[in-house]
């Protein structure tokens, strides 16, 4: 029997107030505590931008106290995946946070999300190998975005390291890797970024402009590309694909990153109904009110 771990990428979004978090909050109100009452998994994205203090992780443990089932997964800092320049110090700082979560019994694993430009070649494969060594004993998930990682050699490498490849659903642009969940070592990791094709294309164009040293054509909200609500049919298709990859899987992470306006949460609740075969899913009034569709399962 597979344990389905369905959640969102992050929980601190202002625009979730009203859509998920209640509007009038008392001083002691805490977003993570509230989140953990309804969902048992969260992916930490803040760790990608900054080296967090272990104290922060201790705070998370406190806020989810009493909910033994709760798990955090955390994105590796961009030094490891995008800049690909790091040393002992960076490893130590990262491990310190993981250790806190692990000792608290709430660590799901680390996610190495590589940029689209990170194509499979010798240097890339050496880098992934080194990363796996540097984070030995840490459950590692690898998310490559370039289609070359679908090649047999690349998949064997990732499998050999015991690191489940993370399957990402996003608009199919260029050589982006197609969505194909695959389990390794009894684990499966799926990230759903939404299918806002237009905004995604614009953001790729902006990124390319910045690389060329030019100014992006406009200053758009970088979150625009995650602004998407999966339709029930799309979720049904994704659920079928996930189900067909569940043979022998003990834990399957399904993380929604289409966070604007709480859409990730609405889709997460719908996905729980689909993957856990549940007619009813516990959720707060706020979200039922915001997303009428949810009333079918609320």
């Amino acid at each position: 029997m597979t344990k389905m771990r369905i959640g969102a990428a992050g929980w601190s979004y202002e625009d979730w107030v009203g859509a998920f978090y209640p509007k009038r909050e008392s001083k002691s109100f805490d977003w993570l505590s509230y989140y953990s009452q309804y969902l048992d998994t969260a992916e930490v994205n803040a760790s990608y931008y900054a080296y967090l203090s272990p104290k922060v992780a201790e705070g998370w443990l406190r806020k989810t106290e009493g909910i033994d089932e709760f798990r955090f997964t955390a994105k590796l800092h961009q030094d490891f995946t995008h800049r690909r320049r790091y040393g002992r110090e960076e490893i130590e700082k990262t491990r310190a946070v993981f250790d806190v979560l692990r000792d608290g019994g709430k660590f799901g694993g680390a996610l190495a999300q590589f940029p689209y430009s990170f194509a499979f070649d010798e240097a890339a494969s050496a880098h992934v190998r080194r990363l796996a060594e540097d984070f030995e004993n840490i459950p590692l998930f690898v998310e490559p975005r370039h289609a070359s990682w679908r090649r047999d050699e690349a998949r064997e490498l990732v499998r050999g390291l015991g690191a489940p490849p993370c399957a990402a659903d996003q608009p199919a642009l260029g050589e982006a890797i197609p969505f194909a969940p695959e389990a390794v070592g009894g684990k499966l990791y799926v990230r759903l970024h939404g299918r806002n094709r237009a905004a995604w294309g614009r953001s790729v164009a902006d990124l390319a402009a910045r690389r060329r040293g030019e100014k992006p054509t406009s200053d758009r909200d970088p979150n625009e590309r995650y602004d998407y609500l999966y339709s029930p049919g799309e979720l049904g298709e994704i659920a079928e694909e996930i189900k067909s990859a569940l043979d022998g899987v003990k834990t399957a992470y399904v993380i929604f990153n289409n966070h604007p306006g709480g859409q990730a949460l609405a889709n997460a609740f719908e996905m729980i109904a689909l993957l856990e075969d549940r007619a009813r899913v516990d959720m707060p009034e706020t979200i039922k009110h915001r997303f009428e569709r949810l009333r079918k399962i609320a």
Partner: protein, 389 residues
Amino acid sequence: MRTATIFHLDLDAFFVSVERLLDPSLEDKPVIVGGNPLGRGVVAACSYEAREFGLHSAMPIRKAYRLCPHGVYVRGHGEEYVRYSRLVRGVMEEFAPVVEQASIDEFYMDFTGCEKMYGSFLELATRLQREVWRRFSLPCSVGVAGNKTVAKICSDFNKPRGVTYAPPGTERLFLERLPLEDMPGVGKKFLPELRRRGFFRVGDVARSSVEYFAAAFGKAGVDLWEKANGEGSTALTVERERKSVSKEHTFGEDVADRETLEETLFGETAKVCRKLRDKRLRASGVTLKLRYADFKTITRSTKIPPTADDREIFETARALLRKAYDRRVAIRLIGVGTTGLAPDTGQAELFETERERRRRLLEAIDEVRGKYGFEAIDLGRYESRRERR
């Protein structure tokens, strides 16, 4: 002769059901799919609540609006219908050895010879219906009979959410009392002519002579007479449109040896890719089909960057096979399909020099195969096996 068992599954008010999944506030309301109520379109579908006002599909939408001005008129979400149709088809394929998709919301299944596996057909029909509801919240009706025509009439008999079974030998009895307008093929023109001649129920036609019907109505008359007597086709048309290119192989004897399976898969893949290249198509989806000795059939699919390359498609299909083949039951049939077909624009892409080179190589191979037959070149996979023989 073995009696055939054909199922017909029809999604109830399909477009409306999907619209209600997208917007639950449409529940219990008369819903009309078809766009602007003041426009020139027709009703694509309407809910049962709307039908009570005399609405039906294909009615001019303005007329519908006159009859039911308080209805909710929606433009429709074609993409979602296609998506759900595919999902439902997937469920059918898990159960039935052969599935024909007759339209976006209708499926025929051939369960002939499967009675030992599934026990009661009535139970199986209910199970299919439940499964579609449980997984996708879509209501449907199922008809079971010895041929397609009667199965379709059965599924229509007790809509919505009906299950109707006409066991072999009871078809005539079942049809007898039905009004003629319930017969497929009896439309607005045919019906008054039949009535004028005194035919009102199916039984009236069945009891008449085929010669009379041939003389009075020609081929249409003979068809109707045969249908009225419970006859009908049992041949399912698989693949109505070319939305996929696939090949499959049924083994003379069931096979459990993985190497043989992979080799066969390789051969079938090569044929599929040849066909893709012939038609100048590239596929962006690969489906593996396995039928076990006990007739359980599974399909596994995945997406790939568009290609018609033997190696890429084979590697994908093989990966699916390695992942899927986990039962200790021999395989009766193996097949590979390609979907998401799009014209091969022939443009060399970035990072793709190797692929491009292979594409030209494969085109050259096809030319040789065209001249000397398919077995002339086999890309070096059969070699090892042949030497051992």
